[in-house]
Amino acid sequence: MKKKDLAAGIVFLFFAIILYANASTYPVKEGGSVVLSPGFYPKILAILMGGLSVLSLFTTLKKWNTEEDCPAKEKRPLFKTRGGKLFLLTILLLILYPFTLKFLGFATAAFLFIFVLITALTENFKSHIIATTSISILITAVMYLVFKIVLQIPFPRGLLI
């Protein structure tokens, strides 16, 4: 946890600096109150966030050489585990979804998304192929009925349905 805390502290400090620098580029009204400037409030937030990040870094470093409060169980890095790989696959599918939605239409995109993900999440998929396919079709049909027919959400028109 200490390494993660250190990384998070650095990221937020960096974010605060960028925020402050960006707010400094906003126009300032000559002679007017500083409160009127659009950069006034973001600058205050940047200073607060920077201060808290430094405080968080300071506390993490202070504890650096002491024992972990709760020694983590021996864990492999997330992205090397099956769960981590599934997580990455899900993100990929989510990113692809708007494109498949645009080109293929709502029902086809939803079916592909659901089918691929269920296949990936199901261990020993081959013995469940009929169940997976029929459940994917069922979920898609219910979604189509609810979203497209009942709620009439205007999805982009794709090549298929």
Binding site: A8, S33, L55, S56, C70, T81, L94, L101, L117, I139
Partner: protein
Amino acid sequence: MSFDLYLEGLSYFANPIMFIASFLGVLVGIVFGALPGLTATMTIAVFIPFTFGLDPVISFAFLLGLYTGAVYGGSISAILINIPGTPSAIATSLDGYPLCQKGRAGEAIGISTVSSAFGGFFSVLVLCVAAPLIANVALKFSAEEYVGITLIGLSIIAVISPGSIVKGLIGGILGLVLGTVGLDPITGFPRMIFGRAELLDGIDSIPVMIGVYGLAEMFSQISKNDFKTVVSQKLSKVIPSGKDIKRLMPTIFRSSVIGTLIGAIPAAGGSIASLVAYGQEKRFGKRRHLLGTGIIDGVAAPEAANNASTGGALIPMMTLGIPGDPMTAVLMGGLIIQGLRPGPILFQQQMPFVSSIFISLLLSVVFMLVIGLAGARIFSRLITIRKNYLIPAILVFCLVGSYAINNSLFDVGVLIIAGIVGFLLKQVNFSVAPIILGMILGPLFETNLRRSLMLSGGDWSTFVTRPFSLAFLIIVVLVLVGPLLLQLVRKQKTACEDEEDENGGV
């Protein structure tokens, strides 16, 4: 404020759709709440996009039904499989699960239903009486006081969120920063819009909420790679006996008072309310020595409290515009999207709507009691639904929900980014609740802060020269410094416990 005002909303209920909306809301809420991993907050966030096309009164009858149903539904999986369906049911599993192991799951669910209904009913009554009174006082508040109240909300949520207070505060400020995206409320200058016209009105809070509460939770479950199926238990004796209810009345009443009060504290909420009520049962309960071994008293206390917190949490949300818990923060997002700004003005200008909220909440408590007792056997089967089928369906639901807000794929992008960021923040033990609260309160906070300073000519002492404002700032200091003082007196809860508490975001 006369009693007639409460009746103004009654005319809406001549429309049977109000009853259908409330009934459906409770039913869907119980189903989602009972499914492990689908929190009440997430349920409301995911459904909001589908309701804002409706009349606000109907939409809120449905959403309040969801809210009540999901908070109650969380107890079902807490009792049956020791996994709270929603974080506010954590304390319910302490006695609920041992009862289930003894084969008395039906009894536990029955008591949970009756206690929840009583807690909910009690809190609605308090809400009806207290809200108009607080709104009347709040009418006298000016910008300085609102700055103080917002700070109270943000500091409480920073303190109670899992992880350290500093992390909670960083989260709150991150939320405020997200709230600055779009046109500056005073000068109209565009800030951090990165050339995207969609961002001129600010980041839409609904896709962000669906992302951090829905998508991020699904990511957590996927990365745990645990899709085991559980076996359900047959339920018997779901309807509790009059003797049991009579014996439990002091516990239920005491917990309802605790739940309503804690719910009404800005940013506190159901999880804390139920844990405190369970703690009080341990101190004052007649059968306190048996708590934890599986007695119905240990189910009645947290369940009455967490449902009582629902009405309580609506008090600050409706009267001050400060949500009482993350669920009401999401509900507030639903109000704002309908063009209604919660706060004392709402009581002046939209009293029929306000009273319809009171009546809807009361109606949803009645439906919860009926549906809960009648459908317990069916709901208990929900826990057997396999997660590898459930997760993809929920993900599509999240995608469609965020798209449906503006029929825009841009919002789908916001959803995915929010989901990934929310998941990563959970990995470093950051709670997402402060971020959401900061984001929702951000624009109002900035406007009030700058307005106060403009009127005082840039003099910051304006915040300490007004008595109410000064009192609020003192509360902020006490909230932030209090835990440090407590730490000196006794050893603080360890970080490990905190990490375990982070169960899908409060």
